[in-house]
């Protein structure tokens, strides 16, 4: 089976995020970069498919050279090949531009199935999977918490409002992963795997290599522009009701504060 995983490198969710001087991007200086956790689930699901059916797992990603480390990590987990689209034109593009570039790279590989996270934990646009599916003209099965595939059809389970929906489609198809770390339990890159990963093929491509013109996917083509970022307001410090009140007095004061000041009851 020929499997592609779309992988995005995102800031570690534990990183401290600061807005850069331009007011519309983040300061990347002290950021620790990781594989978008939902894409990591996709890598795990892809490796399980490969274990079942054989074949190859190719990682397709975009971004600057630092992304190589994330692709190598996925290779250390067991992926076979990697493609990095590193083109400055993409840095100012929107989701649609990125999806065009990813689609072009996927078409070259011509896989049976494409897996990726249903969203990335940085901008939360939720667009990449559906857009790539649309441009490929393939069905899109979203929010998978399980995945079964017999080589010609794919079946997933997705949660709906506490219930469960089962979706089935013929291949080729795009599946976007939902669930959590506990659901997918992605494997660790083993240390020997990390050493072997550096020998696996990784192609770095420009948009032109994919037959695309920067004007099709770059800033000029962007339909959405990120105008500005704002930090959430700082949380006010908590208040401890004390005074010289007994328990009953404290309870009374708490109810009064909740009703009159916080206006929540």
């Amino acid at each position: 089976m020929n499997i592609v995983v779309l992988l995005k490198q995102t800031p570690d969710t534990e990183s401290v995020i600061r807005i850069a001087e331009d007011g519309r991007s983040i300061n990347t200086q002290d950021i620790k970069w990781i594989i978008n956790p939902y894409d990591e689930f996709a890598v795990e699901a892809a490796l399980r498919l490969k274990e079942q059916h054989g074949g190859t797992v190719t990682i397709v990603s975009w971004g600057p050279q630092r992304v190589v480390e994330s692709i190598r990590t996925a290779m250390a987990m067991g992926a076979d090949k990697g493609v990095l689209i590193d083109d400055e034109a993409l840095y100012e593009s929107d989701s649609l531009g990125v999806a065009k570039a990813l689609t072009a790279a996927v078409k070259e590989i011509d896989p049976d199935i494409v897996l990726c996270g249903h969203r990335a934990v940085d901008y939360d646009h939720n667009q990449r999977g559906p857009m790539v599916a649309e441009m490929l003209g393939w069905p899109h099965l979203p929010l998978a918490v399980s995945l079964e595939c017999d080589g010609t059809t794919v079946k997933i389970e997705r949660p709906v409002e506490g219930g469960k929906m089962i979706l089935e489609s013929s291949l080729p198809a795009v599946v976007t992963m939902g669930g959590s770390h506990a659901v997918w339990n992605p494997r660790y890159a083993s240390l020997p795997g990390i050493m072997k990963a550096k020998k696996k093929p990784l192609e770095v491509k420009k948009l032109a290599d994919l037959g695309l013109d920067p004007s099709e996917c770059g800033e000029e083509a962007a339909k959405i522009r990120l105008v500005s970022l704002e930090m959430p307001p700082e949380r006010k410090p908590g208040r401890i009701i004390n005074g010289n009140l007994d328990t009953e007095g404290k309870a009374k004061e708490l109810v009064r504060a909740l009703r009159e000041e916080a206006k929540v009851i």
Binding site: E69, T73, A76, Y188, L191, P192, G193, I194, K198
Partner: protein, 385 residues
């Protein structure tokens, strides 16, 4: 850190960090209570490749440099000490005798099993009457036809209870002793006459066991002398070479544990409020934090320097290795003491990891050569002609 790491190394350290956070630290309390690492965690450690860090690649290991191995130990020592102890005998004292002085056949036979973690190795030198005075061992080995017969008792043997094979030091010539009369043997657990004795109850390092090994007319094939027959009588030198390397690795564990203690102390000082302010606002606490950080910084520099020196120069770094073990392990004891002081009563409680670190790091000044022995080694190197 002004250190340029390879991409491999960055990914490895990142992986170890995540493994420690997600798999090891959450079960640390359980391991303390049960005095045992769950088998499924040991299996995950095997899959990760932790047992073969220092074993050369041609024998199934990762073949890391000592410097790289130290970086991994630093990360791995930020949690319960038993996890590092579990892998330490395969990477260090249990396998290094074979790596340094073993024959090609011995390497091919044993190292792949140790690198995968399928087998566990241990290092059996210490005896009740021979701790710091290691040359005073009493265990005897006599050649009888095509095999050796070992008799004696070893104690304080890390992983002795679970080991599949032991590097055992025994006297083959009582007249010569350390000067040509001690020999290193590879003894497998199923050799007749090999037995595990008492498992000690310890102050710390719970989850890692230290056991007595008993050799009662234990039969060891003639060829199981480390390095082959030509190395009969040369075992003491082998032991010293193995310990020399281990000293730097212990320095790395000390630095890792100290770094974790500092991080825990900084966090605690910021959130613990007394007299209406976080205690981090008080100079008395600030000075302790500053001293901890400064001592860790200094220790890390000599650790990295000595490790890289050994990677470059081979075994001739005896003095530096002893300095690293002495300085780093004394340092972590002071840091643990200050961390406990900053945490106050909370630090003394088992709900916080401080008391565990306090007990665990205390051993570092004792095992694989006490601080006093390190000073003797350093002085001997300084004063030799």
């Amino acid at each position: 850190m002004d250190i340029e790491l390879s991409e491999d190394m960055k990914i490895m350290l990142d992986t170890i960090k995540r493994f420690v956070q997600r798999e090891l630290e959450p079960i640390s309390r359980q391991v303390e209570e049960e005095d045992k690492i769950p088998e499924e965690i040991v299996q995950k450690m095997r899959e990760l490749g932790l047992f073969g860090l220092a074993i050369p690649q041609e024998y199934g290991g990762l073949g890391l440099s000592l410097f790289e191995e130290c970086l991994i130990y630093e990360e791995l020592s930020k949690t319960n000490a038993c996890f590092r102890a579990r892998i330490a005998t395969n990477n260090g004292i249990g396998s290094q005798g074979i790596i340094i002085d073993g024959t090609e056949e011995q390497r091919r036979k044993y190292l792949p099993k140790l690198a995968s973690g399928e087998w566990t190795a241990c290092f059996a030198l210490t005896e009740p009457e021979a701790g710091s005075d290691a040359a005073n061992i009493k265990t005897r080995a006599e050649l009888q036809g095509d095999h050796w017969v070992l008799n004696g008792k070893k104690h304080f043997i890390t992983n002795g209870d679970i080991a599949d094979m032991a590097t055992v030091f025994a006297v083959t010539d009582p007249q010569k002793r350390a000067r040509g009369g001690i020999t290193a043997f590879i003894v497998e657990k199923n050799f007749p006459g090999y037995r595990v004795g008492t498992i000690e109850k310890k102050m710390g390092h719970r989850g890692s066991h230290t056991a007595e090994l008993i050799f009662d007319n234990c039969i060891v094939p003639k060829e199981n002398v480390i390095g082959g027959i030509r190395m009969v009588g040369q075992g003491f030198k082998t032991a010293m070479k193995v310990l020399d390397r281990g000293r730097i690795a212990i320095g790395a564990s000390a630095v890792g544990a100290a770094q974790k203690l500092l991080e825990l102390s900084v966090d605690y000082a910021k959130q613990r409020v007394q007299f209406g302010r976080p205690i981090a606002n008080f100079q008395a606490i600030q000075f302790m934090l500053a001293d901890m950080a400064t001592q860790i910084y200094a220790a890390r520099q000599i650790l990295y320097h000595a490790a890289r020196l050994r990677d470059k120069m081979g075994t001739s770094v005896t003095k530096e290795a002893s300095m690293v073990k002495l300085f780093c392990t004394e340092m972590v004891s002071r840091v643990a003491d200050m961390a406990l002081q900053i945490h106050g009563g909370m630090g003394y409680m088992k709900d916080y990891p401080i008391e565990r670190f306090y007990r665990d790091v205390r051993l570092m000044r004792i095992y694989e050569g006490t601080s006093e022995i390190q000073r003797l080694v350093i002085a001997r190197e300084l004063l030799k002609d």
